[in-house]
């Protein structure tokens, strides 16, 4: 019973995840006074890509072939582990939120390798930058969760779920987490999913050589990851209301905020990102301090 | 009676070898003389090391301390004779060399066995005079220069020591009414001596004999002499001679301890010891000549020994004496092996010696291992003795000086490994090829290494008793 529910919610999450991206795109275009692609465009893309033949580089090895599968696996596994529609159902004995972070790292590891595998300069550049940003994002990511779990007294997801009450510490850490989220999901101001401009792209550069089903998998993985992170955010850092309804509302709200930010801000230079991430790290440390001061 | 035989043997071999031109034959005779003398002196050790002192016709006096030094001299003289046999095997008219060699050893035996302090003084002077020609043996500019410095400086030192001896005699005469310089009598009357006079005397004696023992800042003759003398002589100088003059100091220290205590002598020795360590450490860092390097390391080790006396206590003295033994063995090994290398490369300059390991595998590895032994790495025995000395320091609460010793030792280790890894490793000069090494010498190296190793891992019983009886004499334990 329980296991079926868990799988069900994972599937739901997977199914829903492209929608969020579509929603954000749509909203952005709206704000820009454009018509924009339909809400369900991401689904169309994925289906289309699954329908296409694939071309891969001669220079590449099996790493290049398996990387998409590893990536999607990690995403799905994360989806299985993380709370979403029915937060009360959790797989027990799979560690804590740290584990989810590490799992994402696994996926990234392989994508980066794949980026290098083709021998194209873009790929290398992309993976280099990706690893750079993620390495800098990691501390903020962990410490913000750390701050939140100080309240919960445990890093186990189920014990994190009830969330605290609104406190400065929680807000700070939530903000830090959100900044990291933007970085991790390749959004403005760190990266820009829409451009394929050689010198600015990061995540896109890494997967430039992919086509067909592999690309589909990668994109799907991206959507899933985004939704997982969002759900973690809303469950841990936004302790208002409970139940599936509230969950969806909160997700949509955060997505909307993201869209607005993407429109409002411009992409940063690569080395400005350092400051950005360090800021979020400091913010999370501030959260810890605030928690200790009891505010 | 053994003593007499010892001296006769040495005189005989000296006299005979004087008339033999052929290096090999003369060397063999010398070696024979050393072996006979060595065996008998070892017998003497065996008889007296139990702590039973015996006096021979009121002229010679042999007790535990003497036994220890007899052991030292006999072993190192035998080894050196064996080595010099190889070293001079294809030289001609080495008669003079062999003669002086015997006289030199003779005088060292004489120093440690004679009872009368005046005679002892004279014997020490004779060691200088006899080894002067050995140092200047090669009779080129540098050799003569070294010899000159050696004689002049040592004579000055010794002369000062004589002044101290006279002061001793004076207080013995006035306070205790002894009209003789016999150590036994003076020692017996030790309590009556006038402390101030004794202190005044000790200053001159320590400086005087310290000059000969190579304590800084009176050590300057030492590197010159060691670097210019033929290698066997260098070995004998630092293996035995330095210790012999230390022996003289110890004798006076014993007498004075009755009236002024060990601390006075110990403090002065400690001062010189720490200076010696410092000087050695820094001069070794920037040394070019391998034999000078080894000479400075001798200075260092004399420093450690005197630090042992400074820290005092049974432990300190034990460490010092044990260190004396180890240093004799290790340093002889070093001189022997590096002598082989020098002979092959034809230079003392360490920057010109490269890749010795490929040219002379055995000698080079012996030198390298010996270097680690000298630097005081376990499991070699010098580690144990240094450890003992340092322990005495820490136990006695000399935290600073002991730490200083540790630091200097570290620097010295650095210097040694820096120079030696440069020589042993690296590419060999293209014109050199691996040569067959003399078996005897290789065996000698092996034996010495094994001795060092064995002493390091476990102190055998007879050595223990030897040292213990020696320290008993020092502390006046009957």
């Amino acid at each position: 019973m329980k296991i079926t529910v868990i799988i069900l919610q994972a599937v739901l999450l997977i199914a829903a995840s492209p929608f969020i991206s579509g929603f954000i795109k749509k909203l952005k275009n709206h704000i820009r006074m454009r018509k924009g692609a339909p809400l369900l465009q991401p689904y169309h893309n994925i289906v289309k890509l699954f329908g296409k033949d694939e071309t891969i580089s001669k220079d590449s090895s099996y790493i290049f072939r398996i990387a998409p599968y590893v990536l999607i696996t990690t995403a799905v596994a994360a989806a299985l582990l993380s709370p979403s529609f029915f937060p009360s159902f959790q797989i027990s004995g799979t560690g804590d939120i740290f584990v989810i972070i590490f799992i994402f790292a696994l996926g990234r590891f392989f994508t980066a390798l794949a980026g290098l595998d083709t021998g194209s300069t873009f790929g290398g550049m992309g993976s280099s930058r990706e690893m750079f940003i993620s390495a800098l994002a990691e501390p903020a990511f962990l410490v913000s969760v750390f701050a939140a779990s100080l309240a919960a007294g445990n890093t186990g997801i189920s014990s994190l779920l009830p969330g605290g009450v609104f406190k400065i510490s929680l807000v700070c850490s939530g903000l830090a987490f959100y900044l990291v989220l933007l970085a991790e999901t390749a959004r403005v101001p760190v990266d820009n999913q829409e451009t394929h401009l050689e010198l600015t792209m990061i995540h896109e550069a890494m997967i430039l050589e992919y086509s067909g089903k592999s690309l589909a998998l990668i994109e799907l993985a991206g959507h899933i990851k985004q939704l997982v992170l969002l759900s973690l955010l809303v469950y841990i850092f936004i302790p208002v209301g409970s139940g599936t309804g509230f969950y969806i509302i909160k997700i949509v709200a955060v997505a909307a905020v993201t869209a607005i930010i993407e429109v409002a801000l411009a992409k940063m230079r690569l080395f400005r990102v350092v400051d950005y991430l360090i800021f979020s790290f400091v913010l999370s440390l501030a959260a810890v301090t605030a928690f200790i001061m009891g505010v | 009676m053994e003593i007499v035989i010892v001296f006769i043997a040495l005189l005989l071999s000296g006299g005979v070898s004087f008339f033999i031109k052929n290096g090999k034959k003369g060397g063999i005779i010398t070696l024979g003389g050393q072996i006979v003398a060595g065996i008998f002196s070892l017998l003497l050790c065996a008889r007296t090391s139990g702590g039973t002192a015996l006096a021979v016709l009121n002229f010679f006096y042999v007790d535990g301390l003497t036994a220890f030094f007899l052991f030292l001299i006999s072993i190192s003289s035998m080894a050196t004779a064996f080595y010099s046999l190889w070293y001079f095997k294809d030289d001609e008219n080495t008669g003079f060399y062999n003669f002086l060699f015997n006289i030199f050893v003779f005088s060292m035996y004489f120093v440690v066995t004679v009872n009368n302090l005046g005679m002892m003084w004279m014997a020490v002077e004779i060691t200088t005079l006899s080894s002067a020609f050995l140092v200047g043996y090669r009779n080129n500019k540098t050799a003569v220069e070294a010899a000159w410095k050696y004689v002049i400086i040592c004579s000055v030192g010794i002369t000062l020591a004589l002044f101290g001896i006279i002061l001793f005699y004076y207080t013995g005469l006035t306070q205790a009414g002894i009209k003789s310089l016999n150590w036994t009598q003076l020692n017996a009357a030790g309590n009556f001596l006038d402390p101030m006079v004794v202190k005044a005397a000790l200053i001159f004696i320590i400086v005087g004999f310290g000059t000969k023992a190579g304590l800084a800042p009176m050590h300057n003759w030492l590197p010159d002499a060691h670097s210019q003398a033929p290698t066997p002589i260098s070995a004998l100088l630092s293996g035995a001679l330095l210790k012999v003059s230390l022996y003289a100091i110890i004798r006076f220290m014993i007498i004075s301890s009755k009236s002024v205590g060990f601390s006075f002598c110990g403090n002065i020795l400690g001062l010189f010891g720490i200076i010696s360590l410092a000087v050695a450490a820094f001069f070794m860092l920037v040394q070019k000549d391998i034999k000078r390097l080894l000479a400075y390391s001798s200075v260092e080790h004399m420093g450690i020994i005197s630090m042992g006396f400074y820290f005092g206590g049974k432990t300190g003295v034990f460490g010092a004496l044990f260190h004396t033994l180890n240093h004799a063995a290790a340093k002889s090994l070093m001189f022997f092996s590096s002598g082989v290398i020098i002979k092959k490369y034809g230079t003392n300059n360490m920057h010109q010696i490269k890749g010795a390991l490929e040219v002379l595998p055995f000698a080079a590895s012996a030198a390298f291992l010996g270097m680690f032994a000298v630097a005081g790495l376990p499991p070699f025995s010098i580690f144990m003795s240094e450890f003992t000395v340092l322990y005495a320091g820490f136990k006695g609460g000399f935290y600073f000086s002991s730490s200083a010793v540790l630091v200097f030792l570290a620097i010295i280790f650095g210097a040694l490994i820096y120079h030696f890894s440069g020589m042993i490793y690296g590419k060999k000069p293209s014109e050199m090829f691996r040569i067959k090494e003399s078996l005897g010498i290789t065996v000698l190296f092996g034996v010495m290494l094994i001795v060092l190793l064995a002493l390091g891992l476990h102190i055998p019983e007879f050595v223990n008793t030897l040292i213990d009886s020696a320290s008993n004499v020092i502390f006046g334990v009957e």
Binding site: - | I126, T159, F163, I166, Y170, S180, A200
Partner: protein, 212 residues
């Protein structure tokens, strides 16, 4: 009384040697000093009437008054080097320093050996200052032979000490010491020869091949 006189004479000679510029003068004054020592010993012998001291006196005369000066003279003839022995410090300063040294020995004896009876004290002071002066000459005179003589002066000083404060240290020790000195001088002489033949000079300060 005349004993003190002799002792002062020895000291005076030491000063004379400090003042000496030329080597021959040095040797001469050394001879005189040794002669004074001989007189001292002789008078001691006459006083005590012990044969040992007689023999000793004869020995001193033979070695220090005759033997060594002659030997030195022959060396100087053999090696044709100018008679001046280079000075590091000029005569006046040397004398001042020598006086200082006597002062040091005075201070030393008076402060550290107060227990000593007076005349022995004076003798010791003189002996010590002579020794130190010998040392001084060894340090501040360039030529090799000067150093030899300096060594001999130190020897004399110590002999003075031995003779005057202890009435002669044991007989055979004295003998041994004197012979020892003689041998030492011989050997040093040999080395002076060698130096001269190898370097064509006997300026010891130029012997600085070996350093560091």
């Amino acid at each position: 009384m005349h004993i003190e006189l002799m002792q002062y004479g020895v000291l005076l000679m030491a000063f004379a040697m400090v003042a000496a510029k030329r080597f021959s003068a040095l040797v001469t004054s050394f001879t005189i000093q040794s002669f004074l020592l001989f007189i001292l010993t002789l008078s001691e012998a006459i006083k005590t009437g012990s044969t040992q001291l007689y023999i000793l006196a004869v020995l001193i005369f033979a070695i220090k008054v005759i033997g060594i000066p002659v030997f030195l003279g022959r060396i100087t003839k053999k090696i044709k080097v100018p008679d001046e022995m280079g000075l590091y410090v000029n005569t006046t300063l040397s004398i001042i320093i020598a006086a200082l040294l006597s002062g040091i020995s005075y201070y030393f004896i008076r402060n550290f050996l107060p227990s000593m009876e007076k005349e022995a004290g004076i003798a010791l002071i003189i002996a010590l200052s002579v020794t130190l002066i010998g040392l001084f000459i060894m340090i501040f005179r360039i030529k090799a032979l000067a150093q030899v003589v300096g060594l001999l002066i130190m020897e004399n000083g110590i002999f003075l000490a031995g003779a005057s404060i202890t009435g002669g240290i044991p007989f055979f020790v004295e003998i041994a010491v004197s012979f020892d000195v003689f041998i030492a001088v011989m050997i040093l002489g040999v080395f002076v020869y060698r130096i001269n033949s190898l370097f064509t000079h006997i300026d010891v300060d130029k012997l600085n091949e070996l350093k560091g």
